[in-house]
């Protein structure tokens, strides 16, 4: 019985990792579909020899570039990544008192990357929409974590 419970909890854990990383995948797909191909990401695509598939994918999905709002293409991916980041951090097996430090550090990384761009410390352009999206998705991530704890 214990064995079955153990497998069940492990399966739940794997399922949770997968669910929390769907937004990560979605953000990546938006980037691969619509962003300029001079991004470093596309050098990796070539490195792992996926350029042919990505080329077909970009051509097939190109019409959505004219349909999707600007926000979806340029701001949403980082928000989705922020969501995945915080929720994935929450399933690290670690004591609760250390977890709060991890969350604090996560917030510094997520929000600091945008603020760093504003002050010119990091490369890229500061965008208020990006910062707002990141904050909203971090709040959503914490809400998901809280809901999960209540369900438990």
């Amino acid at each position: 019985m214990n064995y079955i419970t153990n497998i069940h909890s492990k399966l739940c854990y794997i399922l949770m990792i997968l669910l929390y990383n769907i937004p990560l995948l979605l953000g990546g797909l938006i980037y691969l579909a619509f962003r300029p191909i001079d991004l470093i990401m596309f050098d990796w695509v070539k490195l792992i020899r996926l350029q042919y598939i990505i080329g077909i994918y970009r051509v097939e999905i190109h019409d959505f570039y004219y349909i999707l709002p600007y926000y979806v293409i340029y701001s949403l991916p980082t928000g989705l990544w922020a969501y995945s980041f915080v929720t994935t951090i929450s399933i690290i097996p670690i004591a609760k008192n250390y977890r709060k430090y991890m969350f604090a550090l996560s917030l510094v990384i997520i929000l600091g990357s945008e603020i760093g761009q504003y002050f010119g410390i990091l490369s890229g352009f500061f965008d208020l929409a990006d910062l707002t999206t990141n904050i909203v998705f971090v709040i959503l991530a914490f809400t998901t974590i809280k809901i999960k704890e209540w369900v438990k």
Binding site: L24, G28, Y31, R35, P36, I37, D38, L39, I40, M41, F42, D43, W44, K46, Q51, Y52, I54, G55, I56, R58, V59, H62, Y65, Y66, Y70, P77, T78, W81, F85, T88, I89, I92, P93, I94, A95, Y98, M102, L105, I109, S113, S123, G124
Partner: protein, 150 residues
């Protein structure tokens, strides 16, 4: 022990997301083409991107870029406008993916958006006729940003 494995997990997750952040930054690789002058969209006459050689031209002929924008022009439609033109593959290899990107500017010269068109399997010596749709109503001029592929 639990703390140690937790830190390892945390660092691993940070590594993955750092890679994503690095991946979404611009690469240092040079563009196949870049033009510093923008073209007004009011003109419907084709704009030749390449300067035509004159009788006083320098004897040394510059080598053609691998992907060459032969011409581009503004096309106004009933429901939307677009930039039309053609790209030639001057190499002996087939490009599995080629794209042409344009930046769009308003009256003051501020960038108001961008557009691009793409195609698969551009054969050696082949020409691709592209159409990049312009959605920005306040776009008054355009500039070729890049033509690239793999």
């Amino acid at each position: 022990m639990k703390l140690k494995s937790g830190i390892v997990w945390f660092l691993a997750i940070i590594l993955v997301f750092t890679l994503l952040a690095v991946g979404s930054a611009d690469s240092e690789t040079e563009s196949t083409y870049s033009d510093s002058t923008s073209k007004p969209i009011s003109s419907t006459a084709p704009n030749n991107v390449e300067d035509k050689p004159t009788s006083e031209a320098v004897k040394e002929v510059p080598s053609k870029p691998d992907l060459e924008v032969l011409n581009d022009s503004y096309k106004s439609g009933e429901y939307s406008s677009s930039i039309i033109g053609s790209v030639k593959n001057n190499t002996n290899k087939t490009y599995s993916y080629v794209q042409v990107e344009y930046n769009l500017y308003d009256d003051s010269g501020a960038q108001v958006g961008s557009t691009f068109a793409n195609v698969n399997n551009l054969e050696p010596g082949g020409t691709w006729k592209f159409e990049a749709i312009i959605l920005e109503e306040n776009a008054k001029s355009y500039k070729l940003k890049d033509v690239s592929g793999w």
